[in-house]
Amino acid sequence: MKKQSNEAAPRFHSHREGLYRSLLPLAAFILILIINTIFTKNFWHVDIRNHQFFGTIFDIGRQASPEILMALAMTLVIAGTKGIDLSVGAVAAMAAGIAALYLIAPHPMSLAVIIAISLGAGAVAGLWNGFLVSYLGIQPFIATLILMVAGRGIAQLIVQGQIITLPVTSPICNTFCAMSNGAWFFIPIRFYIVAIVASITWFLARKTVIGVYIEAVGGNETAAKYCGINAAAVKLFVFAFSGVCAALAGLILTGDVRSADPNTLALNDHNELDAILAVIIGGTAFTGGRFNLFGSVVGALIMRTLMIQIFSSDMTWGYALVLKAVTVIIVCLIQSPQFRALFGRGISRRSK
């Protein structure tokens, strides 16, 4: 009886535990890289085509980029609200649809304006989620579910239910796609985008007071309010940030395939679930408060490496999903104090 009530009490994160959480994904990633170095042919092989680097290692980065963007924002959402943002897929689809519509217009506006409008739409969607969560007090899961359900429809309405293809003849479309596919000094442009967003996120979360606020609100909202922190504004911010990141990811994905297909973006790809997965693997707990941005990035990279591994070895999409599931289960079990108490008494005692 006593033991049970102990388990029900909130978990205490010691410093060691935090370190453990952040080092584990990195260790796993390094392990995967080492295994690949040994067993995969040409894993580190890099060649230059079309003035940019190609090779397995760059493919992982390329494919992981949108996921990293979403995962970064998702980390802040999970940390600040103890909830998740289910709507990122729908928001990405909406932003992609808007951008595609403006891009194929007969007299398109300048690219910067179009991108700004799309990102703005993402921000608005995020603010809407934030409004529901912080001012109406709805759980993040259900608040974002609303936009996820409706967003699929809205995205389809934006593009009139069609897949908009960006024509090769249009210069502005080419520029837009180049931002997703192109390279600058041999390195894909999307790497720069991800690097910039990641730096901004890191700066905001670790070097400004915003990060402290997010941790405070996620850790104990009531206490944060008594300390004079505007919890509603913090939540609004994380959701808006998530919306912008999702929109950016949507634009990158659109440029990737030169077309905006809301159905794929919003539904089939499970973008939101992948992003959540990356965060979980990265070691950010759903209990709120503590978060690990670096872990989320590594989590996204781990997932993508495993995926590429699977696809290159002629296995079907099904195995990829099974592998994802197994990874999540393992990670969750490792993170679960109850599980560690079962198998590794030593670890759990040391972490306390």
């Binding site: 259900i142 609303i146 359900v149 409706a150 699929r152 809205i154 999903l321 592998l323 289960i329 079990l333």
Partner: protein
């Protein structure tokens, strides 16, 4: 019986919140939305047979798998959890079944038997055709239960968030389905094909009306006696047994009269009785007679008279008016079939129905004791509740009768399964210890634990129930469209959550109702149908409409639960 009386006594204290509290308002709001949407549909698309039983049954059939999954989801959400794995699980089960039913993927045992010449190949194929489906269902159910068991273990023993555990389950199930087959497998099986034609024949009007009327009246009588305040007061006054007998004998009498009348008018109502007697007249006359009989010969009516002389005339008038409006409705039901031509075209069924509804509701509120008491107690909100309740009863009666008049209606297998699942889930959640544990665990886990309730076991079992529901949904799905599709049912888990929320289930746990979910499924069915019938609107509006409904309900719940059920 003693149980009923006991709850009557204990709930006296909280009588005001009995009908309207944070638990019932979402349910009533769901009902109101359903009635509203249905009424709009009936008026707008009545030339397209929206207002028929067939279309109604189509809602049930088209959404039966979603409904079954949503029922399981509702139970999980009541405990404060969530089950994201159901969509993948449904797909996995359909693929498993399809594989087992396809001769090319014969199971090892059969292959061994053929190999040892115990079974010859041709016979084996015939066996596959007829026996394999039943085995494959068992396997599918086992798969569902196992998956639920694993999720439940993760939640119970390792305290993994239900969201994450079931998310892993979603990927696992979907992945396994895709590993088993990358493309859709057609099912060709005698049993499955046969099930397509299996259903419950509701029969023709001549045989069905008396039965339905009798059953309906018994049901309404029972509800009035045991649920409505005035019935309970009568019980307290006169004892349960005579009341029950009175209600049953009254219903039987009514059923016999209707049956005789329907026999007489096998060809056309009224015509056989005499050329000048048209259906409305006959029905109204029956109504008046029935009303008088009810008041003076049946215990309930007599009790009324005894209870207060001054009320007799008012009550009589109310009963008569109510019955006459029902009779009018019935007469309009027979618009075409019974050859009755109405004076003017605008007097269509929806119009009459709505007028009758308003009249009945106003009467019920101002004259009938429960209505008056509610007004005295609770004011406007109570009025709304009683209005909705009355409206729903009337609409459902009219709806069923109207549809049944026109054609032989079949209640197909998927709809039957859905209804069965709803009824069983309702029984489990309201009348068993497990069901009460669900609410207790969702309401306050700590308190439930301290009370000695099996929190862990309940949580584990509820995920198994959800897995079982997913397996049943998969079975129904293979009957509906005989194929095992590894990418089928994509996003079903989120639709199921949406349905549960629209049905009044609180995502924080502790409050919810499988009947609400059932109505939520109907709403989910009505929206696309209505948008499809509108024609000019793109089908994507359905998503937007469902999202908006979700928003309205979530906000409503939030405000309702702000006082009563705040969890944090």
């Amino acid at each position: 019986m003693s149980k009923t009386v006991a709850t009557t006594d204990s709930s006296k204290v909280t009588q005001q919140s009995r009908f309207l509290n944070a638990r019932t308002i979402p349910l009533l709001a769901t009902l109101a939305v359903f009635v509203l949407l249905y009424a709009i549909g009936a008026v707008r698309y009545h030339d397209r047979n929206f207002f028929t039983v067939q279309v109604f049954i189509d809602f049930l059939v088209d959404n039966s798998f979603l409904g079954i999954v949503a029922i399981g989801m509702t139970l999980v959400i009541i405990t404060g959890g969530i089950d994201l794995s159901v969509g993948g699980l449904v797909a996995l089960c359909t693929v498993v079944m399809a594989k087992l039913m396809t001769p090319a993927y014969m199971d090892p045992l059969t292959r061994l038997l053929i190999h040892c010449h115990i079974l010859n190949a041709a016979n084996a194929c015939v066996t596959m055709y007829y026996v394999a489906p039943i085995l494959s269902w068992l396997v599918a159910i086992a798969v569902g239960l196992t998956m639920g068991f694993l999720t439940g273990c993760a939640v119970r023993y390792f305290k993994i968030e239900p969201f994450i555990a079931t998310l892993a389950g979603l990927f696992l199930a979907r992945g396994l389905a895709l590993v088993l087959s990358t493309e859709s497998i057609d099912i060709d099986s005698g049993v499955v094909r046969g099930l397509n034609d299996v259903g419950f024949h509701l029969g023709r009007v001549q045989h069905f009306v008396p039965l339905a009327a009798g059953l309906g009246i018994v049901a309404i009588g029972l509800v009035m006696l045991f649920v409505a305040p005035f019935g309970r007061r009568l019980l307290a006054m006169g004892g349960a047994k005579p009341m029950l007998l009175g209600a049953i004998s009254y219903a039987a009498l009514f059923a016999i009269v209707l049956y005789i009348l329907s026999r007489m008018g096998v060809q056309r109502w009224g015509v056989t009785i005499g050329g000048w007697v048209s259906a409305p007249v006959v029905v109204s006359a029956i109504g008046v007679i029935a009303g008088l009989v009810m008041l003076f010969c049946v215990p309930i009516g007599r009790k009324f008279i005894i209870a207060g002389r001054s009320k007799v005339f008012k009550t009589t008038a109310a009963w008569l008016l109510g019955i006459v409006t029902i009779a009018l409705l019935l007469s309009h039901v027979g618009l075409n079939r019974w050859g009755v031509v109405l004076p003017s075209a605008w007097l269509s069924i929806p119009t009459v129905a709505s007028i009758a509804l308003i009249a009945a509701a106003v009467l019920a509120l101002s004259v009938l004791p429960p209505g008056r008491r509610l007004i005295a107690q609770g004011g406007a909100v109570s009025m709304l509740a009683i209005l909705i309740a009355y409206a729903l009863i009337l609409v459902s009666v009219v709806l069923f009768l109207r549809g049944l008049v026109y054609e032989r209606v079949l209640l197909p297998f998927p709809a039957l399964v859905l209804l069965a699942v709803v009824v069983i889930a309702a029984y489990i959640s309201f009348f068993t210890a497990f069901g009460r544990n669900l609410y207790a665990v969702g309401g306050n886990e700590e308190a439930a634990h301290l009370m000695g309730l099996p929190v862990g076991r309940t949580k584990m079992l509820v995920y198994m129930v959800s897995g079982l529901c997913a397996a049943i949904a998969a079975i129904v799905m293979t009957v509906y469209q005989p194929a095992g599709d590894p990418i089928g049912a994509t996003g079903m888990e989120l639709d199921a959550i949406a349905v549960a929320v629209i049905g009044g289930t609180l995502l924080t746990g502790g409050a919810g109702n499988v009947f609400g979910t059932f109505i939520g499924v109907l709403i989910f069915g009505i929206i696309p149908t209505g948008i499809g019938m509108e024609g000019s609107l793109s089908s994507y509006w359905a998503r937007v409409a469902i999202g908006s409904l979700l928003l309205i309900f979530v906000v409503l719940q939030r405000f309702l639960s702000a006082g009563a059920y705040r969890k944090d």
